[in-house]
Symmetry: C2
Subunit: 393 residues, 2 copies
């Protein structure tokens, strides 16, 4: 009986194989959807013009007034308010610029290329009357397009407008599958094979697929702790994937973690400094996104993230060396308690932040080095990971 | 005759093979030298004490007054001024801290481990009377030790004190050899196999060796341009190694480029924005280091670097879109012309900076996108690379 049961259980050590064909098919599907959406939007405009009507485009309003925190989905969502831009004598230039920018996106998808915000601005210098005089103008048009397409489930990176900075570093039990843009040949990148170095996440991760048998993703605030866990192969002993956020994670890092977590059904644990910045800026941005850019959160936030540490309780339990909270820290914590719907919906977080303000101190993740440089690997993390149910939400 | 000549020529496509044994032997030698130097310094102190004399340690003075620009070596060198710290009742604590910090370094080399500045600070919390109360104190002691050992040719990373941030991203015709810290097994990391991602340089690169048949290293300012060149495999068509600096390069990035260039005899070409920041901060830091930390420059600056572009001439020749210079730009350029020994020793740079100030404009490297997103790959870089002798010094 026992033997049969064992045989029936899928081998935990064998990650589900993703074939090259599947990777390629996924990307083709993604590109097709994107181009169709651009085309149907443009056709709508064209039809109105052909019918001698005034065409318009309706963009979601990108302001804090049009944002709500959905406890159910776990992130700040954009609301239903729209601003409509109708083609008139006054709007003709920005209307044309919006359409040209969408045209550029279509070209980029079809040629399998990409552009940064700056690239797009400079490209426009050849658009004659539709050229942008300042990058702030082209950025605003791109943000509108991003919001417009986001409500249809397509993000800016799928439109091939990529950020100027790349993502953080990754190491651990993960194979990244990345099809070559010219040949389509799929590169299989084994993140266990980088020595003391790591895999640097590209600016856009939409085309990536993953194979892994890891049990969780550990998102780490500082480069120093990441380097320690990587050099000591913590990912091997605890079967995980390490991601270095290096402060507030970039767009590419957040999207990478979200996509990897979604596709491989992996929990995400955040390991950051115990201070209002680590908690209310780094962790909160990773988990629920920001109100200012709510149209991005459906792609970029990681609602499944949980807070491993360092917690205010850890400061006491591990007798960590601390620094006094600065006025700016106290202000940040009180602000979060009073105004932030995320912290307001989670009692354990209210307790933790109030606790921290009362203690009047903060502690860095590296403070664990008081007990030995590798205490974090040998004691702290294993103890914590034995009980993820206790992590803060 | 011709055939014989051809046969005698070494195959340009085959990089010199570096055996695992050589990688391991190199690292063992490096560690031995470091430990011996720590021991001999400590023994000197011990001998004085045993002889009932007052021991002292002589540290190079780390101030701009003790720095000279060596046109010959191509970087800011630290001078011969020393400050001597003698063991007295008043200095006993910092004297003990210095010795404990050196002891920590010896432990780290012997256990093949490392510590960041923060780790070292927190470690000291268990040093009883010798513990540091503030990280600024432990940083100052570490800087002194770094300066002390640097004049003996050993850098901080060899002492196993590593920076908290890791290095930039790398892609191209390069195999990085990195011995595992536990097993000694050498990992061979092929930087052509990262898809649209890249190799992320670790915090310390002292243990790395390299195999390459590339012709040069291209050090790039912005993540956007790096991503373009990487995704379009520019390193393949032009046989080079791409390094993303992402602004002013980190310690690890600078050391990586220097070590790679030295060991494989590769020229380094910098490709940055044409503005006083790109020229006098990013490029100058990469090439000659900084006066403030002159004791580092022998390891971290890249005197062999040359400036590919974007140059003030390029702005005219390629009719690039520009932005007006801000007051802070003009001030930075005039400061460099008046006070910086590097710019003062190079006539072509004086001409270029004066030219830029006269034109009153700056141009970003992405401005080349005016002529097409891939103009930089298809036209600009090939034209430039046909004539490296023309690069600014």
């Amino acid at each position: 009986m026992a033997a049969r049961k064992k045989a029936a259980k899928p081998d935990a050590k064998k990650p589900a194989k993703v074939t090259d064909n599947k990777v390629i098919a996924r990307n083709e599907e993604l590109n097709r959807t994107t181009v169709e959406l651009i085309k149907s939007t443009a056709l709508g405009v064209h039809k109105e013009i052909a019918a001698h009507k005034k065409p318009d485009l309706a963009f979601p309003v990108r302001s804090l007034g049009n944002v709500k925190y959905s406890l159910d989905r776990g992130y700040f969502e954009i609301g239903r308010q729209k601003k409509t831009r109708t083609l008139t004598v006054n709007t003709v230039k920005s209307f044309a610029q919006t359409l040209r920018m969408m045209g550029l996106s279509k070209d980029l998808v079809e040629s399998n290329d990409f552009a940064t915000k700056r690239d797009a601005y400079y490209q426009s210098k050849n658009w004659e009357e539709a050229r942008f005089d300042e990058q702030t103008e082209s950025d605003a048009v791109m943000d509108d397009i991003e919001a417009l397409f986001s409500v249809r489930g397509v993000n800016r990176e799928q439109l091939r407008f990529i950020p100027d900075e790349h993502g953080g570093a990754v190491a651990g039990n993960l194979i990244v599958l990345d099809p070559d843009r010219d040949t389509g040949v799929v590169e299989r990148i084994d993140c266990t094979r980088f020595g003391s170095g790591a895999y640097s996440i590209p600016s856009s991760v939409e085309q990536l697929s993953f194979e892994t048998d890891a049990k969780f993703i550990l998102a780490i605030e500082t480069g120093g702790v990441f380097q320690r866990l990587q050099s000591h192969k913590f990912w091997q002993t605890s079967n995980c994937i390490l991601v270095s956020m290096a402060g507030v994670p970039t767009r590419a890092t957040r999207r990478f973690v979200r996509k990897l977590s979604d596709e491989c059904k992996l929990p995400v644990y955040a390991f950051v400094d115990c201070d209002p910045y680590g908690i209310s800026n780094i962790y909160r941005t990773l988990k629920v996104g920001s109100g200012n850019a709510a149209h991005l959160n459906q792609f970029f936030c990681v609602p499944q993230a949980r807070y491993l540490g360092v917690t205010p309780d850890d400061i006491r339990e591990y007798q960590l060396p601390t620094h006094p909270l600065l006025d700016v820290d106290v202000k940040r914590a009180k602000d979060a308690l009073k105004n932030d719907p995320f912290f307001k919906s989670h009692k354990p977080w209210q307790k933790a932040l109030e606790d921290l303000v009362r203690m009047g101190v903060r502690a860095e993740q590296q403070a664990l080095a008081k007990w030995g440089l590798n205490y974090v690997i040998e004691e702290y993390l294993p103890r914590k990971l034995a009980n993820p149910a206790k992590f803060l939400p």
